[in-house]
Structures are given as structure tokens and as C-alpha cells.
């Protein structure tokens, strides 16, 4: 049996076995679960060879699976996060209900993502895509909180994406006669102009939903926030990148042949930019860590979309590097939230406070990941941001730089809020006996944080696979030009050398820290956070000294006249529209078999019309 099949089947078998193992022993189930992730992962990294295709034909349809260098890069991300999050899940799900359900869907999701990356034909691609969607949907509704609203949003938007994609696939089949991706790419330049525009747009709609590009991002905040945190780190860190994966392929292979390709790319880049800005502003306004990170994920995906939409070699490198970094730090941050949720029972900033001395390692993870998120050197986040800005300036997208930089600076606000919200501030009585998270949760978190540090010093570890993937997609070898040993170049010849930066930062940091720590060490005493200068007054017991409510009100008040109206309008209108869609879907899924049949007929008619003379031959 081919190793690719083996991996997928192992996942599937593992999912089923793990799900049932819970009946006998919880410990056995945990062990099986970890094995079910790690064994295929090890198999993948040791056994799978590049560009090795497996295909078979059934009923006139030829299906193919294989690994390209480009999907190899995404597979690294998926498996890395998959394994880390799986170990974390064991700790996180300990003692929680519906563990089997969780494990089953988790494994299924990982399998589906790998399946997508393996797929070399549209049918298997679509099938895995749908498995991924369904499995993650089941995760979103798992907690049972606000399932109606959140689940249906996710479902509806996924359905929109799926239909768009399905339509594209049908159109493609009509053109090429088979479902092979490569065949379609080869025939694409010879298609009619209308088709040439329609098919990529339909595909992009499908991918944009997963990548949460505005205006198709409405599902994302809720779904990220309300699925179990251990899963969200995969959901936001890896699953959303499947959209990026698809988008890059569309951009590179299809739109580059199209005269209007530049325009479409620019539009998508601007959509990404608006996503970044608006989601960032919304993230600033959140009081719940899960929602804050959810909006932040949408915003960060916005940058990635900007980068891949611009599509110069350096922007592509930047986008994919940021995608990987986002997987690392956002995965870690969601794990942090999960740890806090597990230990305190809530993720509300206004409730939890001052955990730094209770959960120091969790705080360390959060600190490193936040620094990476904010794009501060020397961590990996900076390298992505640097390449993004340089490529935007060099490709004459001046306003995009400003917008991207604005949301990147504004991201500092929610980054600070996240750290301050949980870990800093007053240490309150009610959280006095909070313990550090269990070791199974700490290790994956810290591992991801270490990854962020590592990529700051040695970005070539991941830039090289990215470059290989891009070469396989037909890009020139930008690796050699843009990246020499620990030096970032742009095409104007400006450079950033990483080693001196790291040495300088570490040197100054440690020196100053040593100074502040050792100066008067003996006469420096620890005082509790209650002993602060409260203007001489003695605080009463019930008085709250941590500033949490309406945290960034002055900033939000400043952006109010510029943004508030639009955000309000946007969300009100969109909310109203959404409600209409919900009502509509409720009617669609009426449970009446006859109606379903009717829909099928309507859908077929639409397809036929589209396939027919509507767009010309």
C-alpha cells in the first residue's frame, strides 16, 4: 500500500479506534489518540517522497494523490500544529465531557487537511474539503454554547464556499473532461475569457471563506471563539491556511495568465487590508480572550492575504512565512487561553487578573507569542512583516503599506490587552489558588513559543521549504536572492542582518535586567500588588483596582468618527442580511424531502445554464 494512503487510513482508523477506546479506558484513549497523530506524522516526514503520484480510475473518473513541494510546506504546518495540539488536547480535554467526539473529529480534521494537501484532482480535493468543513463544524458546535448562531454562521458560509467551489469544479470538468488539477492548469490559458474570469473567482470565493477574507469572514470570530481552544489552535493556525493554500495556487497558476489578474489581485489585496484593519479594531474592543484572538486571527489572515495577493516572489515568501508564523504563535496563544480557561473556568479579561505569578510558564508562552505577533524583532514575526512591507513598497503599493502598518501598530493594543488582561494587574483573592497548567499542556505551548524564537534566528528553516514550493509552482528561485545566511535583502540592496540584531537585543536586555535585578538586591523587597500608591488612600476590600472595563476607550473614541459608523453600518447591514440568510436556510433545511428534491433540480438548472450559453464558448 502506498504510504500516502497509509497515512490517511491510519488517521481514519485511529479516529474510529480512539473514539471507541474511551469505553474501556480514558488513559488508553489518550495514548491511542497521541499515537494516532504521531505515527502518521512520523511516517509523513520519513517515508513520503516528493512528486510521487498515486492514482486510480473508477467509473471514468481519474483520481490522483501526491505530494508537491508546495503542499509539503503546508503539511509541515498542519502536522506540527496537529501533533502539538494533540498533546495539548490530552491535557485540555482531561475530565471534560464528549472526549471521544472531540478526538474523532480532531483526527478527522487533520486527516482531511492532509488529504487536501495530497489531492491532485478536484474530486478528492472537494471531498476532503467537505470532510474538513464538517469535522470542524462539529467541533464548533461541540460546546453547545450559542450553537445556533455560531454554528449556523459557519455552516452557511462554508456552504457558500462549497457551492462556489462545486460550481467551479463542474465548469472545469465541462472544459477539460477530467478532474485533474494539472490538466486544468494546462488548459486554462486556452479557455474562453468569461470562463477564465469566472472559474478563478468561484474558486477564490471558496477559499476566501476559509481564509476569512472580508466580507466572507463573518463566521470566523464566533467559530474560533466557541470551538474548544485546543482545537482552535489548529482551526485558526492551520485550517484557515487551507484557504491560503488554495488562493496561492489560484493566484499563481491561473490569474497570472489573465489580463485582469492584476486587478483581481489588487482587489483581493485591498479586501485583505480592510479585513486586517477592521478585524484589528474589533479585536481591540473585545473583552473576552477567545474573541480577541478570534478577531486577531481574522486580522492576521488579512496580512497574509495581502501578501499572497500582491504575489511578487518576496511578497509570496512573506505571506507564506507569515502564515507559518501565524500558525505557531496563534496556536500557542489559543493554547494559552485554553490553559487559563482550564485553570480558572473563564476567559473574560474583566474577571481573570494577575495570573503571572500563578502561571509563569503560560505567561512566558504568551509573552513570546505576543512579541512574535506584534512583529517585534528578533522573533519570527518581524521577518514576515519586514518582507511584507518591503515587497509592498517595492511593488508600488504605497497606501497598502500605510494601511497594513496601521493595523499592525493597532495590533499592539490588543496584544497588550491580552497580556495585561490575564496575567498582569492586581492579584486578586479569588484567583489565589490557581495552579500552573498541567505539563501536557505546557510542553506543546512552550514548544510552539520556542519555534517562534527559532524562526527569528533561523528563518531559513522554513523559508527553504517555502522557496522550494514556490519554485515548484513556477516562481523563480527567490531564495538565493532574498535570503543569504541570516540576512534579509530587498531588491534595492537594503538588508537586515539578523545575528547582530539578536546579539544586540539579548546583550542590552540581559545587561539592563541584570542591573535592575542586582542593584540593591538585598534592599529590594517584594510587595504585593495591593501595596501601590493609591494616592495615599487605603483601598476598601471590595474595590477593584485593576483597570479592565472599556480598556481602550480613548483609542476607540478617537477612531469612532472614522470607523464606528462604517463598522456599525457594515455589521448592522450584514447582520440583517445574515438573519435573512438564516431564515432562508431554515426554510431550505425544512426537513421535507420534497423541497430538497426541488433544490437539487434548481441547482442543476443553474449549473446547466452556467455551463450553457450564458458565458459563451
Amino acid at each position: 500500500m502506498n504510504v500516502i494512503f497509509l497515512i490517511l487510513i491510519l488517521f481514519l482508523v485511529g479516529a474510529i479506534v480512539t473514539a471507541f477506546a474511551g469505553k474501556w479506558s480514558s488513559l488508553l484513549q489518550d495514548g491511542l489518540f497521541i499515537l494516532a497523530v504521531t505515527i502518521p506524522a512520523v511516517l509523513f516526514f520519513t517515508q513520503v517522497e516528493m512528486n510521487q503520484l498515486v492514482g486510480w480510475t473508477r467509473g471514468g473518473i481519474h483520481l490522483e494523490l501526491g505530494l508537491t513541494p508546495f503542499s509539503y510546506f503546508f503539511a509541515i504546518l498542519v502536522l506540527l500544529l496537529g501533533v502539538a495540539s494533540a498533546i495539548y488536547s490530552v491535557g485540555f480535554m482531561h475530565g471534560k465531557a464528549r472526549k471521544s467526539y472531540y478526538y474523532f473529529n480532531y483526527l478527522l480534521t487533520i486527516m482531511a487537511m492532509l488529504g487536501i494537501l495530497f489531492s491532485r484532482d478536484f474530486i478528492s480535493f472537494f471531498v476532503f474539503w467537505e470532510i474538513m468543513t464538517w469535522a470542524s463544524y462539529l467541533m464548533v458546535v461541540m460546546n453547545g454554547t450559542r450553537t445556533q448562531e455560531i454554528g449556523i454562521k459557519y455552516f452557511v458560509f462554508s456552504a457558500i464556499g462549497a457551492y462556489a467551489m462545486l460550481m467551479a469544479i463542474v465548469l472545469i470538468h465541462a472544459q477539460t473532461g477530467n478532474f485533474l488539477i494539472q490538466d486544468f492548469i494546462d488548459t486554462y490559458p486556452s479557455l474562453a475569457h468569461g470562463r477564465q474570469i469566472l472559474i478563478p473567482i468561484l474558486l477564490l470565493v471558496g477559499f476566501s471563506v476559509k481564509a476569512a477574507v472580508m466580507p466572507l469572514h463573518v463566521w470566523a470570530p464566533g467559530s474560533y471563539a466557541y470551538s474548544p481552544m485546543s482545537f482552535t489552535s489548529v482551526f485558526s493556525g492551520a485550517l484557515s491556511k487551507m484557504g491560503i493554500y488554495g488562493m496561492v495556487i489560484v493566484f499563481v497558476t491561473l490569474l497570472s495568465h489573465l489580463p485582469e489578474g492584476g486587478l483581481i489581485r489588487d482587489i483581493i489585496a485591498w479586501m485583505g487590508a480592510m479585513t486586517a484593519v477592521i478585524a484589528t479594531l474589533w479585536a481591540i474592543a473585545q473583552d473576552d480572550a477567545r474573541k480577541l484572538l478570534a478577531y486577531s486571527s481574522v486580522g492576521q489572515l488579512g496580512y497574509i492575504v495581502i501578501a499572497v495577493a500582491i504575489g511578487t516572489p518576496m511578497a509570496m515568501l512573506a505571506g507564506l512565512f507569515m502564515a507559518f508564523m501565524h500558525g505557531l504563535f496563534k496556536g500557542a496563544l489559543f493554547m494559552v487561553v485554553g490553559a487559563v480557561e482550564k485553570q480558572t473556568g473563564t476567559t473574560d479579561f474583566t474577571k481573570v487578573t494577575g495570573l503571572i505569578r500563578k502561571m509563569p510558564w503560560t505567561f512566558l508562552t504568551a509573552l513570546i507569542s505576543i512579541i512574535a505577533l506584534a512583529g517585534i524583532p528578533p522573533l519570527g514575526g518581524f521577518i514576515g512583516k519586514w518582507m511584507l512591507y518591503e515587497s509592498l513598497i517595492l511593488s508600488d503599493h504605497y497606501l497598502l503599506v500605510i494601511v497594513a502598518f496601521f493595523s499592525s501598530t493597532a495590533a499592539f493594543l490588543y496584544a497588550y490587552k491580552f497580556l495585561f488582561g490575564f496575567f498582569l494587574g492586581q492579584e486578586e483573592e479569588e484567583w489565589a489558588d490557581v495552579k500552573e497548567a498541567p505539563i501536557t499542556m505546557l510542553i506543546p505551548m512552550l514548544a510552539l513559543a520556542v519555534g517562534s524564537i527559532l524562526l527569528g534566528a533561523f528563518p531559513q528553516l522554513i523559508l527553504k521549504p517555502i522557496n522550494n514550493g514556490l519554485i515548484s509552482l513556477g516562481f523563480s528561485d527567490s531564495y538565493g536572492k532574498l535570503w543569504e545566511t541570516s540576512t534579509l535583502f530587498n531588491e534595492w540592496g537594503d538588508k537586515v542582518v539578523l545575528q547582530p540584531i539578536i546579539y544586540a537585543i539579548m546583550g542590552v536586555f540581559l545587561t539592563t535586567l541584570a542591573f535592575t535585578y542586582f542593584r540593591n538586591r538585598k534592599r529590594t523587597r517584594y510587595v504585593s500588588t495591593k501595596d501601590i500608591s493609591t494616592s495615599g488612600e487605603i483601598p476598601l476590600a471590595h474595590e477593584n483596582l485593576t483597570f479592565k472595563e472599556n480598556f481602550f476607550q480613548p483609542f476607540l473614541r478617537a477612531v469612532e468618527p472614522v470607523m464606528k459608523k462604517q463598522i456599525d453600518w457594515y455589521y448592522r447591514e450584514f447582520g440583517a442580511g445574515l438573519e435573512a440568510i438564516f431564515n432562508f436556510t431554515r426554510r431550505i433545511y425544512s426537513g421535507n424531502g420534497q423541497t430538497y428534491a426541488l433544490y437539487a433540480v434548481i441547482f442543476l438548472i443553474v449549473l446547466l445554464l452556467l455551463n450553457g450559453n450564458l458565458f459563451g464558448q
Binding site: 474583566t350 486578586e428 494616592s535 474595590e543 483597570f547 472595563e549 472599556n550 476607550q553
Partner: protein, 367 residues
């Protein structure tokens, strides 16, 4: 159970507070959702101590009631005592008293300039005005021998006549001050940032102001022309020509404009006083303070200070000690209840500005 809103303590040790008092602010974001004033940090029990002191010893206590301008306190106490006893004050003393009161008003308004500007971060004006206030204090010093607590206006008149050339010195100081006012205008009142910080902030509705019995520039800033100097004239104010400025906006800006104009009117009054002042005695001598008894009776003497009316209610039971001296400061009625209302919904940045604008003076509540 922990409260939702954050508690901020404005005072007692805080650069933004106007005196030794505390405002307990509950904030959500930048907005104040609840404000509670707490006083009592300065309670020295003057009124209690007055029980054991004779009429003149009490006088030295009473001028220490609220420190920015002690002269209206001296004036009120003296006038209340005179009213019960029926003691006549010589005409010249009345003019000198008016001059003292107006000089004190100028000094206090200059200090207010410093507070109001400093609370918005404009320290230069504060440095200038407090520096220029020293010239007023120099005049006090020359006339009375003290910078702050003069104990100069006392029952029966004033304690000392003008030294030689003093009137000219006063006029010269007034000329100097009038020249300086342009500088303050340039930096403070014509500064667009100061205007932005004050216009529309700290609004109190005129209805509320009347209900609460708020007095002084706050009342006049709400468009009500009310001033003890005109409504219930004392000393020689009815013989002098001056205007009572009013503004209708009832915000910090309006009150600031009122005070700005009052400073100019005070300079005008002082010039008139110097001009019209008659020669003659300055003091209707009181007997030996230990034996000085005052017939039974009570009186309320009100004086318009720079912060509003100050009332002294003095009761005598016929002995050589006052039965009761009860003080009513300008800020007594509004410093707590009104401040608590006004601050709700305001920005944290504006608390200090509002307190300065309302003329909150903690010792007037506590005594």
C-alpha cells in the same frame, strides 16, 4: 465581590486634587461612572475651639478657614461681630477693607489661573501667575506684616494705616498686573487646545446650580447675575462702579471667562478705592480683649470671595467668648453633592479641571 468598575483615587495625595480631599472615582474606560467625594482630612474643629477662646482669639482662628484668600473670612467675622455689637466702622477703614478684599480676590484668582491652567497641563501660565501673585503678597506684607494670614481686618476697623507711598505702590502693581493679563490671555484663553479642553466640559445646568445653592463664579457662569457685593452690599461697594460679568455656557470655559473678567473688575475697583478713599480714623477701638463682652444676639455676615459667598454665623450669649461661630464656605454646598453629580459621565482627564473650575476647596467643608 469585586466591583466591575475600576476604582481610582484622586487624592488625598495627588497632583490633580485642589486640596486635601479625596474623590473616589469608579471608571470604566475613560469614563467616570460614579464619583464619591470623601472629606475630613482637614477637620481641625475651629468652631469647637472657638468655645474656649475670647472674641479676639477666635478671630485668629477664623482667618485660617480656607487658605487661598483669608481676608474675606476676617471681613465676615469682623462684620458679624460688629453687627451684633453695633460697632461703627470708620469710613476710611471701610475703603481699606474693600481694597484688601479685592487684592485678596486678585491673589486668589491668580492662584486659580495657575490651578486651572496647570490642571490642563499648561504650567507656564501657572508659573507666571503664581509669580505675579507675589507682588500682591508684597503689598499685603507691607501693609499688614504678613504674606498669607494678615489678621488685618478686625472688629472695629483695620489694624494699621497705609505706610507712606503705599497707594502709589498699589496703583503701580495694578498697572503691572494689567499689562500681564495680556500674556495670560495669549497663552491661556486664546489657546485653541485650552478651549478644546474646556468648552462644553463640566456642564452644570442653571436649574441645578440654583437648586444646590451654588454661588460665585459658577453661578454667574450659568448666566445668573448674582453677587453679594451688589445684592446685599457691604462696606462701600454700593459707592463703587463695577460690572458683574456673566456667561451663559455654564461650562468650564464660561466660568473661566467670568473669572478672567472679575480679575479686571477687581483692578478697576482698587483704582476707584484708592481714588475715593477719605482721610480719617481707621479703627474704632475695642476694649481689653479679655473683658470685651458682646451683648446677646446673632448675625450672619456674608462676603463675596473669589469663589463665592462666604457666610459667618456668629452667636453671642453676652459673655466674653462667642457662643458659636458657624462658617459657611463657598464650596460647602456644592463641593460634595454637586461634584459627585457633575463628574459622572466625564472623562478622567477632566476631573481636575472640573474641580478647579467649581472652586472646590476642601477646608471649607471640613473646618
Amino acid at each position: 465581590m469585586r466591583e466591575k468598575a475600576t476604582t481610582l483615587y484622586l487624592g488625598p495625595q495627588h497632583p490633580g486634587i485642589t486640596g486635601n480631599m479625596m474623590v473616589r472615582l469608579k471608571v470604566e474606560g475613560d469614563t467616570i461612572v460614579k464619583a464619591t467625594t470623601e472629606v475630613g482630612y482637614l477637620h481641625r474643629a475651629f468652631e469647637k475651639l472657638a468655645e474656649k477662646r475670647n472674641w479676639l482669639q477666635t478671630f485668629t482662628l477664623m482667618c485660617r478657614f480656607c487658605v487661598p484668600e483669608p481676608d474675606p473670612m476676617e471681613e465676615s467675622y469682623s462684620r458679624a461681630v460688629e453687627a451684633i455689637e453695633g460697632r461703627i466702622v470708620p469710613e476710611r477703614a471701610k475703603y481699606i477693607r474693600v481694597m484688601m478684599l479685592e487684592l485678596a480676590r486678585i491673589g486668589s484668582l491668580l492662584l486659580w489661573h495657575a490651578g486651572q491652567a496647570g490642571s490642563t497641563g499648561l504650567y507656564t501660565v501657572g508659573q507666571w501667575t503664581v509669580g505675579d501673585r507675589n507682588y500682591i503678597l508684597d503689598l499685603f506684607e507691607e501693609l499688614t506684616g504678613a504674606r498669607i494670614y494678615h489678621m488685618y481686618i478686625w472688629p472695629g476697623g483695620v489694624r494699621r494705616d497705609f505706610p507712606e507711598g503705599f497707594a502709589d505702590k498699589v496703583l503701580k502693581t495694578m498697572d503691572y498686573l494689567e499689562g500681564r493679563l495680556k500674556d495670560y490671555d495669549n497663552l491661556m484663553f486664546e489657546n485653541s487646545i485650552f478651549q478644546k479642553r474646556t468648552q462644553g466640559v463640566g456642564y452644570v445646568s442653571p436649574k441645578q446650580i440654583i437648586e444646590r445653592g451654588v454661588v460665585g463664579p459658577v453661578l454667574r457662569g450659568a448666566g445668573i447675575r448674582s453677587d453679594i457685593r451688589i445684592d446685599d452690599p457691604y462696606e462701600v461697594y454700593d459707592k463703587l462702579d463695577f460690572k458683574i460679568p456673566t456667561e451663559t455656557s455654564s461650562d468650564i470655559w464660561g466660568r473661566a471667562l467670568v473669572r478672567r473678567e472679575e480679575l479686571r473688575q477687581s483692578i478697576r475697583i482698587i483704582r476707584q478705592v484708592i481714588e475715593k478713599m477719605p482721610e480719617g480714623a481707621i479703627y474704632n477701638k475695642v476694649p481689653n480683649p479679655q473683658k470685651w463682652t458682646i451683648p446677646p444676639g446673632d448675625a450672619l455676615a456674608r462676603t463675596e470671595s473669589s469663589r463665592g459667598e462666604i457666610g459667618f454665623y456668629v452667636v453671642s450669649d453676652g459673655s466674653n467668648k462667642p457662643r458659636r461661630v458657624h462658617l459657611r464656605g463657598a464650596a460647602y454646598v456644592h463641593a460634595m453633592t454637586l461634584l459627585e453629580d457633575v463628574l459622572v459621565g466625564q472623562n478622567i482627564s477632566d476631573v481636575s479641571t472640573i474641580m478647579n473650575s467649581l472652586g472646590t476647596c476642601a477646608p471649607e467643608i471640613e473646618r
